[in-house]
Structures are given as C-alpha cells and as structure tokens.
Symmetry: C2
Subunit: 222 residues, 2 copies
DNA sequence: TAATTATCAGTATTAAAATATCGATAACAA
DNA sequence: TTGTTATCGATATTTTAATACTGATAATTA
C-alpha cells in the first residue's frame, strides 16, 4: 500500500500520542506561548526528549529552530490535520443499552470530528424514542439507512453475541470503519477497518498493577 | 524490576490480546470443544499461527500436544488468572457527567472483576442522588472516602481541566491505579499506574482510514 | 508396525519502535 | 565579536514485538 500524499509517514504509536500533544499544545497556546521545545514537552509527559522531537518532525510541515523549539500554532495545525479533526465524520451507533446510551449522551466526540447521527436497537420499547435528539430505529433498518444517509462509521455497543451480525449489516450498508466496543473479534472484508476499544484489557492492566503492588509490598522475594 | 512469581513474563501486546482469546475460548468451551489448536485460533482472529502459539505458551501452565492443540479449559483458567478476573477490584468514579453516568450505568465491568462502589461530582444538583444504587458524593470527600473504603482504583471522567486535581485527590486517598478517560496527561508518583483510555486516538484512526479509502478511490497516484 | 501428518517447542531472523550519539546552528552572554 | 549553550536534525544502536525456520512428537493411516 503506497503512501498517501497528504498523510505523512508516521508510526502507529506516534499517531496515538498526537491527541495528547494536541491537548497540551492548545493549553500552551491559550497561555500565550508561541514556541515550545521538545525537552519541555517531554518533561511534561515523561516521554524522552528524542521521542518528542521525532514525533514532531514526523508531522510538522515546518522545522524546529535550535535554542527555541517549534512553533506552537504550526504544530497544532499539523496535528489537527493528521488527526482529521477538520473533516467531520458522521456515524451511527448500534446498541442503545447502557453503554450505547452513554456514548449517545456524551457530547465530547464532536470536538474530535465525530457526529453520531442516529442509533439502532432491537428493543421494541426504545425504538422510536430519542436520546439527545437522536432517533432510535429498529436494527432491521441498519443497512438501508446507512446507505441512504451515506454514513461511513459504525459504532457497535451491543452484547458480544450480536456484534458480528450487526457488523455485517453495517458493512452491507456501506460502512467502512467500525468502532467496536463489544468484547469479540469481528470478521470483516479486507478494506474495512475495525477499531477495537479494548476496555477489558485496560481493566486487566489496572488489576495486574494492583496485584504487583500488593505483592511487592507484602512478600519480598521467591 | 523483578519478575513476580505468579505473573509469567508476557509482552504488553500479548497481554492485551488475552481478553479476545478468552472470549473465543469460552465460546468454544460452551460448544463442547476440549482442545483447540493454534492454527484454528489464528484463523479466527486473522493472527499468525506462530503468534497465537507464542501467546498461549507464554501464559499456559500446561503444554500443547502435537496434532491436537491446547486444552481449552486449562487455557481459560490460565488467562483468567493472568487477567485477574478472579479477584474483584473495587473502584470509585469521579465525574458523573454524561460519560461517567454511562459507565456507572454500564453493567459489563463486573464480568471483568471491576466493581464501582461510589461516584463523586462537584455538581450540587446530583450530589446526594444515586445512579444504579451508587451514591454520588461531593468531590471534596474523595481522599477521605477512598481511604476509609480502602479503594485502590479510581476512574476519571471529568473534563480535562479538572482531571489533574481529581487525580491528586485520588492518589492522596490511597488509590494506586487510575483509569483515565480525560484527554489529558496526568502526573502521578512513580508507583501509581495511569491507564489512559485514548478514545480520541481511536476516532482519529477511524477518520484516517476513511480518508485513505476515499483518496485511494478517487485519485490514483502522486 | 512403519509412514504420514498436523501440530508443537525452541531458536533465529526480521520489522517496528524507542533511545542514544553526534555534528550543526540559532540565540544569547561575555 | 567570539564563545557558550540549548536545541535541532540525521544517523546509529538497542529494545521489543512479530514472524520464520527447524527438528521433535503424538495421533492417524497404510
């Protein structure tokens, strides 16, 4: 797969760090800072200075200046570009249960360019109702409505057992990228992206840390 | 840092794959399967056969058998052990806004050993009310209550500007692991773990994929 | 019982990411 | 004006994760 002309080559890991840089750079910008150096950013995030410089040079259209650093507003511009916060993406959500409901109510996504248009569910009781102004339709209509609305992002918040069926319907409806909150692997055609929000892994990491802390506190060796 | 005796050495990436394996293995178990081979698991997940075998051998107490594979129930056991689903972890949540509310309502975490005990907020209107049986206290009481309840996990779902303050209060209350949904870097003492739920990065990856799809469709080269 | 085969385990290689090294340069101070 | 310094960019090294290779082994078949 070739390099897209407007999307510079950048490692996946670096890409994931970008939202954090952006948040900090915006804060600096608000405080009136015009330039920022890699070492100072690194200190803030507990990253290595080299990593930050590499990350910046990977996305920056301009160069940094010795002894000064990088221009804050240029960086903000470049990162927003990379992250695609400029172009708003429309999405549908399937599964208006507790988690889905939560995401519908959450207003934070629009800042990142995501607009949830409508939701789907199988529960007769909530079909036809609205959450935050978004209508809830019967899950049967997924493919049809996605196609008509030309929506290309689907958010899956149904229980694991139903996730694959829902996924297939979304794909049939022309969805090209899926944000999957269900704890199950989804099979999709080649060119469809499944982005798994692996909350179980996060929880397990928290739990692992606690165990390690407790063990290192009580027992000493062995 | 030395190796904990009860936690085998395993790469971070492999650890994160474990919840997915677990879900699939449980499904197989329910269907009556007693053994499973690395190649078949790999086919299901579109992973490489070697990766799966490596992952299994990293966590498995028993060995696989040539021509047969691994024992399903042994694997389930080992993975649940690794992930810490056995020992239930108690947590508090700070920020009962839209996202926090959602997480409080979401019942899925208990399956992973996480039990949200109470929540905190600064909004006078909701302090004293309950969500899903969980009382909402004033944020002023975070440190005090965490200490008294001996809770070691804190979930942060407040706006970015307030996250660091909340984090400090949690740490002061004896919290040792933080699940951070705010889009901001948190500074903590050395032995405290911050697990960032980086939803902005997920969204950005979806958006990037869409752009690439669209570009590869319309333009051809350059 | 011997040959075949699917799978395993262990070691080696490759790829990706993070980190280190080093010379260059713009700003600042003497 | 000249030296010092903080930072930069480019290249090299190390570390970590993923993949490939090879010989061994338990089950199956001839």
């Amino acid at each position: 797969m070739e390099q897209q002309n407007n999307i510079p080559s950048i490692s996946l890991q670096a890409f994931k760090r970008m939202p954090y840089y952006l948040q900090y750079l915006k804060k600096l910008h608000k405080e009136g800072a015009e330039v920022v150096s890699a070492p100072s950013v690194a200190a803030y995030f507990n990253f290595s200075e080299i990593q930050v410089r590499k990350d910046f040079s990977a996305i920056s259209s301009s160069q940094g200046k010795p002894k000064h650093g990088f221009e804050v507003d240029m960086l903000i511009d470049d990162i927003e570009n990379i992250l695609g916060y400029r172009n708003s993406n429309e999405a549908v959500l399937v599964g208006a249960g507790s988690l889905g409901r939560a995401l519908l109510l959450y207003s934070g996504f629009e800042a990142y360019g995501l607009k949830i248009m409508t939701a789907f569910d199988t529960n007769e009781e909530i079909i036809g109702t609205k959450i935050k102004g978004k209508s809830i339709f019967s899950a049967e209509k997924i493919s049809d409505l996605c196609r008509r609305m030309k929506v290309h992002i689907g958010i899956i918040t149904v229980p694991a057992e139903q996730a694959q069926v829902v996924c297939d319907q979304l794909v049939a409806g022309g969805v090209m990228a899926i944000w999957n909150f269900a704890q199950i692997h989804l099979s999709v055609p080649q060119n469809i992206l499944v982005q798994n929000e692996n909350m179980a892994a996060s929880l397990a990491l928290l739990s692992k840390h606690l165990r390690e802390q407790i063990h290192s506190g009580t027992e000493e060796a062995l």
